[in-house]
Symmetry: C2
Subunit: 159 residues, 2 copies
């Protein structure tokens, strides 16, 4: 599947404002509403657009503390990984989790109400995740940027 400059413009616009009306979107990318609607359909069907999310304020929702937690398991059998990952998915405080190469097996981004809440999560949820052998936490002091993907550069006359 290949994306021309209209597709890329649509995705870029919707990444910035996912609730743009089809009409406003069409105007912005330079298409008629019908053509724009059909392209959007196609982008969603093919999976280029996986979905849409509201960006919620962790601050205002009462989770101002962001912690990055590195975790190493006792063993790396696929069974142990799968059990750990299933448990992680069930924990609402874990916003992000990747299996990693390098010194630690996983990196997690955890949202907490305050330090005491994090201590509680640390003890209750994280340490008791299956097979955890080593943990290392760092606190986020300031958010610089936080996007979910990058759109390839749009060549002006492009394809």
């Amino acid at each position: 599947m290949t994306y021309d400059r209209f597709d890329l413009a649509i995705m870029q616009a919707l990444q910035r404002d996912g609730r743009l009306s089809n009409q406003a979107l069409a105007e912005r990318v330079g298409l008629s509403p019908s053509a724009c609607s059909r392209r959007l359909d196609r982008l969603e069907t093919t999976g280029a657009i996986e979905g849409y999310s509201a960006r919620l304020s962790s601050q205002l929702l009462g989770y101002p503390v962001t912690v990055m937690v590195n975790i190493t398991l006792a063993g790396q059998s696929e069974k142990q990984l799968a059990e750990f990952e299933a448990a992680v998915r069930r924990c609402p405080n874990v916003l992000v989790c990747f299996l990693m190469s390098g010194e630690y097996d996983y990196i997690l981004r955890v949202a907490a109400r305050d330090l005491q809440d994090f201590e509680h999560i640390h003890k209750t949820a994280l340490s008791s995740l299956p097979h955890v052998a080593k943990m290392n936490s760092s606190f986020a002091l300031r958010k610089i940027t936080d996007r979910s993907a990058t759109v390839p550069p749009i060549a002006p006359g492009g394809l």
Copy 2:
């Protein structure tokens, strides 16, 4: 500002599907469309909902490689931090960046087309960011979960 169970339900629903029509949203949370629309207005105005984003497939857009990069600067004066952060914000391959406590000053999440592309970013964009003294990269092997926030638990009869 305080959020009752309707507000929380609205935010939860829109985090899952940010393009839900107001009507579908109203139905799901158990309100009339007008009441729902007014609450949504309020959530956006007060900042609880900061905006909406399409979730784009980094895979399909040609950036299948995710790398976590830890960076320490030569010094931590506010001026050095500000210059570094301004440069980071201008780099489209840097999806996420936090100023951190602990061993490293910053953690970055970088999207790359492939290993060669990352090497290029590493050399060209990252190493040449102002004041960088130490860098450490780990590759993501698998994404377990990737949300942007967590909604407080909704007490069934709650406020």
